[in-house]
């Protein structure tokens, strides 16, 4: 059979690396005693003597501590003396000491990948303490495996890719805003893309925010203004990311701008247009309570403070055009696109709340007086549809007896098994707020557990108790409407008192959980991210890299990567900015030197490898019918290499022949055994 296998990666070599790439392999082997750690068990000199008999081994040494200065000096000295081009160190674990010796041989002009590290301590002397002879024999095997592999090693370069020092932030909620501000303050240009007409996200809709119940818009508003004022931030509201191409340092992004049907450079946000507009439609910002006009300013603190015309509901009467003093209205406006280049991307697209309507959870959608917490938030809000009066939908009366059901769409195997993290706290907040406004009201929170983990949370819970908010542990088993007065009748087991209770409420509020929305799905597809089991986006490591993703240069902040409250979301915004700055400031990213490489002469174009790569590093060149590895994306795991049936794909530093050299040298013919 053919043995015409093409060789890959003759990496551009510096002069001094040619030395290492010469045909004759001159190997030096350095056996470490690691004090008595190795030397106390393995007969290191016997190992060195045996290894010296192998072809290609030009020098051997035994050192007390090879990693010490004198040990390293010995290596360097022998490289010079014997003109070595491969170095095998038999010592401890490469996981701790490989970098040391790579640097050591690199100083001598050898490519750092010409080092082979053999572990005869952790994997030998330490685990065969009472079998010294066998440990010595095993060490000989291990070192021989290393020597034979070393002869096949090839020079590699970790490559650098340039990084454009601009950032793209997707999602203008509190997390995205924080990330944008931090990056802008550090001097980087930021594009902040928000799909709604105004930034602000969910927080802009709340009246007050837990745990301290300060006015939400009073703290968010100034931040929004800061964003719009910052010269380094370019807000692209009413816009969405359509395409992303490229990789870390150099993402090419296409943004779609939906037409507002008015010239934002002329509009002053005075809202004269909406005053004259004759069309009224339910307003989703208010969760459907109250109405807005077909042309409207999203909310008084909106950023940018510009109107937007909703073409779907516009009847083309042109009243607004006549009313607008700055002649901003333009009915013929088209969708436009911007192409931009960003070095890094931060995803902060947030969430939506669980929708109890399709399943009629707890009578929602059947009975007028069952509402969601988000609706309750809008009713509480002084700038909301009722001017801050909580009313019940059936008769617009202000309710006295209010029930809250926690964990709706959370911690439930029929909907979502995870805990939404914020519902206990916002329910406590909402009950308090209404109780403070109208002390005559009576509140009962029906819960499974109350979770109050962070600073001032437990205090907030205590405050609610002191205010007289009742806590009942139990989940309603039946919710019915009294057809006469539309009151809500709830049957619930009080699991602490161990009794069934029948309660009557004027209003029942469902604490609906936090769920992933379409924006998350879109971002996942655009950036090739992974989703966790809960449907939110997945971080690179749940503990140690909580805002990174598996895609270099892409970070996640806020609820997009799972339920969290505002302080947590804001911290992540800052964390993303910090992580991103490493790249933006250095203006370069280092990519893995060990990568997969395709030999185009051998590649059959079967495409098997493409879906193997979790980093989307393999692209099919349709024209040539060959696979192609984008080095900047490849992380060098080698799983594609295993799948490739032709062997066209190889992983540098772990090429099949290199691995097989080790395999073959595990064994010895008995004659040769000492």
């Amino acid at each position: 059979m053919s043995d015409t296998k093409g060789t890959d990666v003759p990496v551009e070599s510096k002069d001094n690396q040619d030395k290492g790439n010469q045909d004759e392999k001159r190997v030096g082997v350095f056996v470490c005693e690691c004090g008595v750690n190795i030397g106390g068990v393995v007969d290191t000199h016997a190992v060195a003597d045996y290894i010296a008999t192998l072809p290609g081994v030009k020098a051997t040494s035994v050192n007390k501590f090879t990693c010490s200065d004198s040990g390293q000096a010995d290596i360097q000295q022998k490289i010079k003396e014997h003109n070595l081009n491969r170095v095998v160190v038999a010592a401890c674990s490469p996981k701790t000491h490989e970098p040391t010796f790579r640097a050591c041989i690199e100083q001598m002009g050898l490519n750092q990948y010409f080092l082979e590290f053999v572990n005869i301590r952790d994997h030998c002397s330490w685990i065969h303490m009472w079998e010294k002879d066998k440990a010595t024999e095993k060490s000989k095997d291990l070192v021989r495996m290393g020597v034979e592999r070393s002869k096949l090693l090839e020079p590699l370069e970790a490559s650098e890719v340039p990084v454009t020092d601009t950032a793209l932030v997707v999602g203008g909620g509190v997390a995205g805003m924080q990330a944008s501000l931090d990056l802008a303050d550090m001097g980087f240009k930021v594009y902040l893309v928000e799909k709604e007409p105004s930034i602000g996200g969910r927080m802009a809709r709340f009246d007050k925010v837990f745990p301290t119940n300060d006015c939400s818009i009073c703290i968010l508003g100034p931040k929004m203004v800061e964003v719009v004022r910052n010269k380094n931030i370019m807000i692209m509201s009413y816009s969405e990311v359509k395409e992303v191409d490229g990789y870390v340092g150099n993402f090419n992004v296409k943004i779609e701008h939906k037409p507002r049907y008015l010239d934002t450079s002329k509009c002053t946000g005075c809202a004269k247009c909406s005053e004259v507009c004759p069309v009224e439609v339910p307003y989703d910002f208010n969760e459907g309570f109250g109405t807005r006009k077909a042309i409207y300013v999203p909310f008084p603190q909106a950023v940018p403070l510009r109107a937007v015309l909703d073409k779907e509901n516009c009847i083309n009467c042109k009243a607004c055009a006549r009313a607008c003093e700055s002649k901003a209205i333009d009915y013929d406006m088209q969708t436009t696109y911007t192409d931009l280049n960003a070095g890094i991307i931060i995803g902060a697209v947030g969430f939506k709340t669980y929708d109890p309507e399709p399943g009629h959870d707890f009578g929602y959608g059947l009975y007028d007086n069952v509402i969601t917490a988000m609706e309750f938030e809008r009713l509480l809000n002084a700038a909301g549809p009722t001017g801050g009066h909580v009313i019940r939908p059936s008769d617009c009366r202000e309710p006295i007896r209010v029930g809250f059901v926690n964990c709706v769409g959370s911690r439930d195997k029929n909907t979502n098994i995870y805990c939404s993290g914020v519902c206990c706290m916002y329910t406590i907040k909402n009950a308090q707020l209404l109780k403070e406004k109208r002390p005559e009201t009576d509140h009962t929170i029906m819960y499974i557990d109350i979770r109050t983990p962070f600073r001032s949370y437990e205090e907030s819970y205590n405050r609610a108790r002191n205010l007289g908010v009742k806590f009942l542990r139990g989940r309603p088993v039946e919710v019915k409407e009294n057809p006469e007065n539309k009151n809500i009748m709830v049957r619930v087991e009080d699991t602490l008192a161990n009794e069934i209770r029948n309660l009557e409420f004027d209003l029942l509020v469902l604490s609906t959980g936090v769920v992933p929305h379409d924006g998350i799905h879109k971002l996942q597809q655009l950036l090739k991210l992974s989703k966790a089991a809960d449907g939110f986006l997945m971080e690179a490591h749940p503990k140690l890299r909580p805002v990174d993703t598996t895609i270099d240069g892409v970070y996640l902040a806020g609820v997009a990567s799972g339920p969290k409250d505002i302080p947590y979301a804001v911290s992540q915004g800052s964390a993303c900015a910090g992580r991103a700055t490493i790249l933006l400031k250095n203006r370069k990213a280092i990519t893995e030197g060990i990568t997969a490489v395709v030999d185009p002469d051998v590649c059959a174009g079967c495409g098997v490898c493409v879906p193997m790569c979790p980093f989307q590093a393999i692209k099919m060149d349709e024209e040539a019918g060959k696979a192609n590895v984008v080095k900047a994306l490849c992380k060098g795991c080698g799983t594609c290499v295993t799948a490739c049936p032709t062997g066209a794909l190889e992983q540098s530093h772990f090429k099949n022949d290199q691995v097989l050299a080790q395999v073959k040298n595990v064994f010895r013919f008995q004659e040769a055994a000492v």
Binding site: M1, A604, C606, M612, A643, P645
Partner: protein, 383 residues
């Protein structure tokens, strides 16, 4: 006309209808596809003698028309013939041809959208060398004297130049070690519903028996093919009667049952398997013919099975075959090609199926029957 419909059809040209395996429909559909530029080329068999032939790719309508008739001693597989050629092609195909073509399609060497597959029902084919020997030993006729062959009512009939017919039952032939190739005996794809059309003589009853082809439309492409031939005046079709449809289904069921029995007979559980495989592979000369001919493999000359096989190192077992056993465990279609070509007569298909049967059964994967990705190339299997 649409997917799922069945027809009886025949060539409007009388001599083709006569020469055709049943109604000459397949030949006419192929010719019409070429004539009306539905495709640029067609694969047909070019005869060497009256029972042997080689496949050719042609754009000549007359060559297509000449090819009418079934040849049971031509077991070649057409998949690799059309691979890597980027053809817009129509071709007749036995079940195993279809499966090979689909597997090649998954590996990007054939564009399935541009490939019109006319499936032939197939009860099995015979190896030409075995046929020659059989003619001499069983039929006592010289292969050169054969003028035509036919299968009727379980009998394999050869006609000699002197006009005489010689018939022996297939059962008897197989008992004596002749007849169908071993892989055909246990093949269960009797009606190729994975092709665009499935054509055969099963289900043609009464007056039309022997004079029409039963055709089932399996895809939109199939409908397009057949409609084109009707519109171009090449074929005539009519609806089959219920009796015919039922008969076809019944025969299919019976044939599949027989195949399953054969499978049990061939693959009896074995102890000491390692010895068995070692023995069977002992004579392998590493010629690579089995890989070259394999219709599901899309590798070029260089591949993992060949590159890391060193004769000197394959002390107790062939690395080449080990890698192929694994790589084909999900994708082997059991077409028998490897056994056919092996110069040292290793029963390769039987060996390969030993590995493929359990994997394909466990993963419920039937290669070449649909576009499902081979499990070996999945990222994750849902268990």
């Amino acid at each position: 006309m649409q997917k799922g419909e069945m027809f009886l059809g025949w060539s409007t040209k009388e001599d083709i209808r006569k020469r055709g395996g049943s109604g000459g429909l397949v030949t006419s559909v192929l010719a019409a596809a070429l004539d009306k530029k539905l495709v640029d080329s067609v694969v047909v068999l070019k005869k060497i003698n009256d029972f042997e032939a080689v496949p050719v790719i042609t754009s000549d309508v007359n060559e297509v028309l000449n090819s009418a008739g079934s040849l049971h001693s031509v077991p070649s597989n057409f998949a690799k013939l059309i691979a890597n050629k980027n053809l817009k092609v129509a071709l007749p195909a036995k079940g195993c041809d279809v499966r090979g073509i689909i597997e090649q399609g998954k590996r990007n060497t054939i564009k399935l959208d541009n490939t019109f597959i006319i499936g032939l029902n197939c009860g099995g084919s015979m190896h030409p060398t075995v046929t020659r020997e059989m003619l001499e030993v069983m039929y006592k006729i010289r292969p050169e004297d054969v003028h035509g062959e036919e299968i009727e009512k379980g009998k394999l009939i050869f006609e000699t130049k002197d006009g005489k017919e010689h018939a022996i039952t297939i059962d008897e032939l197989e008992e004596k070690g002749y007849g169908r190739r071993e892989s055909c005996r246990y093949c269960t794809i009797k009606i190729p519903n994975n092709a665009d059309l499935a054509c055969g003589n099963w289900g043609v009853t009464g007056e039309l028996a022997g004079k029409a082809t039963f055709v089932e439309v399996n895809s939109e492409k199939g409908a397009e093919l057949l409609q084109n031939a009707v519109d171009a005046g090449y074929v005539q079709i009519q609806k089959p009667d219920e009796k015919g449809i039922a008969a076809r289904a019944r025969i299919k069921g019976a044939m599949e049952g027989l195949s399953r029995k054969w499978k049990e007979k061939v693959f009896i559980p074995m102890d000491n398997r390692l010895e068995y495989f070692r023995k069977e592979l002992e004579n392998c000369i590493d010629c690579g013919a089995c890989k070259t001919v394999c219709p599901t493999c899309s590798c070029g000359d260089v591949s993992k099975c060949t590159e890391f096989h060193y004769r000197g190192d394959a002390y107790k077992m062939s690395m080449y075959h080990l890698v192929r056993f694994l790589h084909l465990a999900d994708s082997c279609i059991g077409c028998g090609q490897c056994t056919d070509v092996c110069p040292v007569d290793i029963p390769l298909t039987r060996l390969y199926r030993r590995f493929a049967n359990p994997v394909q059964e466990e993963l419920k994967y039937e290669p070449g029957m649909d576009l499902r990705r081979p499990p070996y190339f999945e990222v994750k299997l849902n268990d």
